[in-house]
Subunit: 327 residues, 2 copies
């Protein structure tokens, strides 16, 4: 677009705030210094309006979420975030108010996470965003991988599950309106997920495997199981549920367990932990983020995931590939 | 999309071919080792169908170009390319033939450039692509920046200018069809630009400033001039033109100088070089890429760019912001 440079200048360029950024913006590429004792962790995610977020969603929330989903991937590796670049495609004429709000949401999270925006691209077309996040990992430590889960390990998740899916179900109009405070909590969980960066770093030396829950617990735990060549049994009664999720599901006639098992977009971490390390892992997560780490099941040799009901009976999850709709 | 994982597996995942790639694909992020004596160079570019390429363009050419424009940014910094990630948004149902051809074009250039695809994202929506390229630069050396041009330096460009713009003008139907061989040459220049990586590395220690010519010579040289606080005089008679460009412009009644001055998408490098270093720079570029490096003007103190005609008269370029249309 004709005023690409001035739009970037006005809304997206801010001081980097990190001494390892040698050059950010205004040249053909950015230049950063990677500490000699660190490995570089690289992830990218594209978000498309109408697919990953509603075109009418508040721009600040879109800015937050575009960054959050990428930082969540770094958290799932146990990496500390360092630098991000952003490619933004905006419809013409450039919606300048939207861009200003977007930048606010983006930078609020970037500043909180200690991440510097080092460059990007602004182009014209259907609204979409692509963020690339770069993180650092001590070279001496291993990353928190999807492979590595061992038979006997406990399956644990941070925070609560199903909140984002319930927010989506309610905002889609398929359910009665929940109480205001609950609705606000669930909407925030959907629109402004907080990447579990501190938990990821804290869990790296203690967990045997990890992933972030973006497509739903069953789908994402399935990735751990396949990568590790194991299976898992999940105790449904142990799934951590927020009070807002319980109340909303109850009032709206939705199945809160469905949301917790198959709902996506919570961006909590799912890790496997040797039983002897559970207490230390819970302490480390609590100390890093005032966050709960709940054991919800165990790794078994038999492939696949089974659900254990309160009466002890085992059954298979329903077949699905990631979360699409529920309720 | 439901078969995102299998599509990635079938078409995009190949062995990394670099020993510094510790983990690529199949986890939440990729993991690479940055040499201790190197700085990291980061760039990203989004390409949108209908804006940056025709939706009907051959998929292999789109794959080539998406990577080429990013590698060209690394070349303009004098960096050696190392790793790339790719986020791809495809309309549903996923056009699998298109994706296979795209991957061929992408990997042909990646392999030639010694770059490893280390991860990415495949999502559903309007056809677009976002590539992030990571390059390396010796920490002891400076990057080839836009700032740094000094009064008296020569302005030089690699290769030839205006080819891509003429190809676009002809393919838009605004001109008579050129001879087949010329048309093929110009189309290849437009659809499959070759990033001047060898030239960038070779010029880094010799040039005072550099940029890649993506928006047109006048627009991009303008960035150098503003960043360096200088101006430039370009001798029109010195602009390097391909035989195909001359013949095509002549046959089609197009202005070849217009194409060379204002046409975008050539992805040549424009650098400023102290006169004493010109011969060494020309030898270095020729040795690295069998490519010409042509002096086309000089840096002056007076801000702005002026054009010098064959009779010595100076005039201002026409006002413009990047290349849009011409002819």
């Amino acid at each position: 677009m004709s005023d690409e440079f001035s739009l970037i200048e006005r809304h997206l360029r801010r001081p980097a705030g990190r001494s390892d950024v040698l050059l950010a913006g205004g040249d053909d590429a950015a230049l950063v210094a990677v500490p000699a004792d660190s490995l570089l962790v690289v992830t990218t995610d594209m978000l498309v309006a109408g697919v990953h977020f509603e075109a009418e969603a508040p721009a600040a929330a879109v800015g937050h979420k575009a960054l959050a989903v990428n930082l969540s991937d770094l958290a799932a590796m146990g990496a500390a975030p360092a630098w991000v670049s952003l490619a933004l495609t905006l419809p013409a004429p450039a919606p300048e108010d939207w861009l200003a709000d977007f930048a606010e949401g983006f930078y609020a999270l970037a500043d909180a996470a200690g991440v510097a925006l080092i460059g990007g691209d602004l182009t014209q077309g259907p609204l979409s965003l692509c963020v690339q996040a770069l993180g650092l990992l001590p070279a001496a430590a291993g990353a928190l991988r999807r492979e590595g889960a061992n038979v006997g390990d406990l399956v644990c998740v941070t925070g609560t599950l199903g909140d984002a899916a319930l927010a989506l179900a309610c905002s889609l109009g398929g359910a009665k309106t929940p109480a205001d405070a609950d609705a606000a909590f669930l909407q925030q969980r959907l629109q402004q997920p907080w990447p579990r960066l501190g938990a990821g770093v804290a869990l790296r030396p203690l967990a045997s495997a990890g992933i972030d829950v973006s497509d739903g617990l069953i789908a994402d735990l399935g990735h751990i199981c396949r990568a590790s060549g194991v299976g898992a049994i999940i105790e449904q009664a142990q799934l951590p549920l927020s009070a807002a999720a319980r109340a909303t599901a109850g009032a709206a006639g939705l199945d809160v367990l469905e949301a917790a098992l198959y709902g996506g977009d919570d961006y909590e971490l799912c890790v496997t932990v040797p039983p002897a390390a559970l207490a230390a892992a819970q302490r480390a997560v609590a100390a890093s983020e005032f966050l709960g780490l709940t054991p919800i099941g165990r790794i078994v040799a038999e492939p696949g995931i089974r659900l254990q009901a309160a009466d002890g009976g085992l059954h298979a999850p329903r077949p699905q590939v990631g979360y699409r709709h529920f309720g």
